[in-house]
């Protein structure tokens, strides 16, 4: 066999090491530079309570319609993560996100006045206490 130094160009060796160093640093230090990732897959310990968000559309008559993001088009799924950044957003930006969530309802002709985002705590246990929720944000009023 040829010796490595002759067979593998120096620039290739540098590229391989650079690639692996980026992979290792992002993975070990939990940095996200997708597709380099911190590999946090189910890594945090889950307790019996599930803290999350409940998104509801408030219709003109005051009725609340729960929005399940997984029922929305592919582009909107997973966007509940954006709520974590709501505190740092302007009201205008929050309104934009909330209007996107209720756009399918409004397209159906439903009279949605606003969107409410509740911070919700559910017990995941079958014998757990009932869920609690508190209003975190109001947004997405008709422009």
């Amino acid at each position: 066999m040829q010796r490595t130094a002759e067979a593998v160009p120096r620039r290739t060796r540098c590229a391989v090491y650079g690639f692996l160093v980026a992979f290792a640093i992002t993975g070990a230090a939990h940095l996200e530079a997708w597709p380099f990732t911190g590999f946090r897959l189910f890594s945090e310990r889950r307790g019996p309570d599930r803290e999350g968000w409940e998104i509801v559309a408030v219709e003109h008559d005051g009725a609340e319609v729960r929005i399940d993001l997984s029922d929305l088009p592919v582009g909107a799924r997973g966007s509940a993560k954006l709520i974590e950044g709501f505190a740092d957003m302007s009201q205008s930006d929050r309104d934009g996100v909330c209007r996107a969530w209720v756009a399918p309802l409004r397209d159906e002709g439903r009279a949605v006045d606003e969107v409410r985002v509740y911070a919700r705590v559910d017990s995941v246990r079958p014998d757990g206490p009932p869920p609690t929720r508190s209003l975190a944000y109001s947004c997405g009023a008709r422009p």
């Binding site: 290739t12 997708w34 897959l41």
Partner: protein
């Protein structure tokens, strides 16, 4: 002094392994199989559904920040067609480096769009990272070429490091974030109860079966963590590789049955990288040759 010598020896050993020899055929066959996975993923994933996403929901990953919104349906379909055709041409060996790069970049773009919804997406990460190692790999090799050289070893070995590292780091992050409680507490039971509530899995029976049995939940948690951390052993113990392919298949099938999450590309990529498919390719070629020759033999 002794420590410095030891570190130097380990580094030299790691370098020697990373740039060690593999057969030309293994590089070619691995690239063919990766191109098949890339092409299939590009053609069959519902990327088209991303078009029409309201601009307010678009949170581009770093290399797509030049976009101000999700591309149009026409653009997404065009990239899918280009990527699928390029992958097919890479399988055929036509201008391998360029076509494989085009296919890889197409998947990077499309999967990057999917990861631009505010949530980190891991589904295609392993395939993309492994295939990245083959973008610069030597071209013009024959699948049946069993010659071995250090010139051809590094793509396969880099891919092995990435697969082993991805699983190990997944386990490592569990240990860092949760410590022994990831296994010893009710953590996995709670994960399973949550999964059952989410309604995304094809059934809630598997998740509830585990969640309702505390001892089983601890065993499953320990097994999952042991598989992830143990993946590093494939670098030192080649005979363990088929077992870890099987373990990864069990792990991800379990995640699908309990959570409905799509990690099929992790199983497929792991199988492509950890198993040397070149002898199988040779065997198939020999059988095809015998089949082709036999009619003339019997007819003479």
């Amino acid at each position: 002094m002794t420590a410095a010598v030891t570190v130097g020896a380990v580094a030299a050993g790691a370098d020697g392994w990373l740039f060690g020899g593999e057969t030309a055929g293994r590089v070619r066959v691995t690239r063919i199989l990766l191109a098949v996975l890339i092409g299939g993923r590009i053609a069959l994933s519902p990327f088209r559904g991303l078009a029409g996403q309201p601009a307010a929901l678009f949170r581009p990953v770093w290399f797509l920040e030049w976009l101000d919104r999700m591309p149009s349906l026409g653009t997404i379909v065009a990239v899918q067609v280009i990527g699928a055709v390029a992958a097919a041409l890479a399988v055929l060996g036509w201008r391998e480096r360029g076509t494989f790069l085009a296919a890889w970049m197409s998947l990077l773009f499309l999967a990057g769009l999917r990861a631009s919804r505010g949530k980190v997406q891991h589904n295609d990460v392993l395939l993309l990272l492994v295939a990245a190692a083959f973008v610069l790999a030597p071209v013009g090799l024959r699948a049946l070429d069993r010659r071995r050289s250090v010139a051809w070893g590094w793509p396969v070995r880099t891919a092995l490091v990435v697969v082993a590292g991805a699983y190990f780091l997944s386990g490592f992050q569990k240990v860092v974030a949760s410590g022994p409680a990831w296994v010893l507490s009710d953590n996995l039971r709670n994960i399973m109860y949550r999964a059952a509530l989410s309604g995304r899995a094809p059934t809630d029976q598997v998740a509830l079966f585990i969640a309702d049995r505390p001892a089983l939940a601890h065993v499953v948690a320990l097994g999952a963590l042991a598989v992830e951390l143990g993946f590093l052993s494939i670098l030192f113990w080649p005979r363990a590789r088929p077992w870890f392919v099987a373990a990864a298949a069990v792990l991800h099938t379990g995640i699908y049955l309990t959570h409905g999450l799509d990690y099929w590309m992790w199983i497929a990529t792991t199988a492509v990288v950890l198993i040397d498919w070149q002898p199988l390719a040779t065997g198939l070629a020999n059988r095809a040759t015998r089949t082709t020759r036999s009619p003339s033999v019997s007819g003479s």
